[in-house]
Amino acid sequence: MITNEMIWGAVGFLLTIMILSYLIGDNLFFRLAAHIFIGLTAGYLAVLLIRHVLIPYLVKPLIENPGQSQLWMILPVALILLLLLGQVPRLSWLGRIPLSYLAGMTAAVVIGGAVFGTLIPQVQTVFSAFDPAGWVNVSGYAWPGIINAVVMLIGVVSTLSYFHFGRKLKLTRDEDQSKRPLIFESLGKLGQIFIGITLGAVFAGVFSTALLALINRLIQMGQFLAGLLGGS
């Protein structure tokens, strides 16, 4: 008897093979799977937006409980209308009003997050690493704490220096066009090592994640084949 698991197992098996076939280059099967995926994802996203955002937060309140409490709804309704009107080529400038609204709002959230959520806490961490009280660790050593603090400061400063945009002011050779001012250039060299170390660790993480995804696919396929051969 064909169970639900077997059907989805078969679908998963076929789709996985179709996508893995990309290893020999683009082919009909890969494209077929890719386009099924695109269509289905778009359809689901549409359902999500309509059913889980627009209907409960916009349509329902307006239908079920119109009046004073819903006055604020004028704002999103007007903005959405402008966005739709903006799709008409002659009225495209109207579409820029809601977009400017979103741009301003997103920019502000980004500024706040960047300063209060990253800049300040990370600077505080560097400072606290230099607190002598925190140097002595469980094993009674103080030097690891000191080394850690110094390396942390050097790492952060040199990495920041690597990203310095400005170029060397005195141009003696053509290569100087791509060089930073001396101090940033020398610190940047050191920064390169730290950046390389970070990217290397992230690369390892990316591979680990991708590898695990492949392993899980193989398990699913193995289970499906086992189920098929086992007749269950």
Binding site: A42, Y101, I111, V156, T159, G196
Partner: protein
């Protein structure tokens, strides 16, 4: 007029939102309305995007362009997901299996292909980059991370080697902190540029 109006809206909304970090209680209700409207707007924009995707594929079919068959597939599966999603009750197990039954195998298999491509890429790391501080740091760190990942290197807590291993494990975080701080600076500047109307994502005027 519109040249002034449009940027002013961005500035006004931006300043009120930014002030929310400073005066959260006073601006609370106003901000909820502003943010709520923004979220609804983004949903509408998302739908317009999907409309653009459909339009693109419909036109491919209309003009009988190359790959029209695949456009048909896209439209077909779009309709399946849309109709099923609107007809079936929320939280339907069948709908969940329908979507995830396709999404998980395809996305995971794509990541599987990525794993293989990463293997190929790792072969040409030095060939592409040469022996530079960046590539040396990258290579050594990647190798070390894999070794740590497999748990091949470990020491008794409190020992010197344990301290050394912890130090090495923490090295990538130092560069990460520098990059994160840099990103925060960049984020701050880009945000201000948008508020100051230097950059206008809402139009090229």
């Amino acid at each position: 007029m519109k040249k002034v109006l449009i940027p002013m809206i961005a500035l006004l909304v931006g300043l009120v939102t930014l002030a929310g970090y400073f005066l959260p209680t006073q601006l609370g209700p106003t901000l909820t309305i502003i943010i709520g409207a923004g979220i609804l707007l983004m949903s509408a924009a998302g739908l317009i995007g999907i409309g653009y995707l459909l339009h693109m594929h419909i036109m491919k079919l209309v003009h009988k362009e190359r790959g029209g068959f695949f456009s048909l597939i896209v439209l077909l599966f779009f309709l399946v997901a849309l109709i099923a999603g609107l007809v079936l009750p929320p939280g339907s197990a069948f709908y969940r299996d329908l979507i995830l039954g396709v999404q998980i195998p395809i996305e995971a298999a794509l990541l599987g292909v990525l794993a293989v491509v990463l293997l190929v890429a790792s072969l040409k790391l030095i060939r592409t980059r040469g022996w530079t501080p960046l590539s040396i740091g990258f290579l050594s760190s990647a190798l070390l991370s894999f070794v740590f990942d497999l748990g091949l290197l470990h020491a008794e807590p409190g020992t010197l080697s344990a301290e050394l291993l912890d130090f090495l494990r923490g090295l990538p975080w130092l560069g990460a902190r520098g990059i994160i701080l840099g990103m925060a600076l960049g984020g701050l500047i880009v945000g201000l540029r948008v508020l100051f109307m230097i950059d206008r994502p809402y139009g090229e005027e």
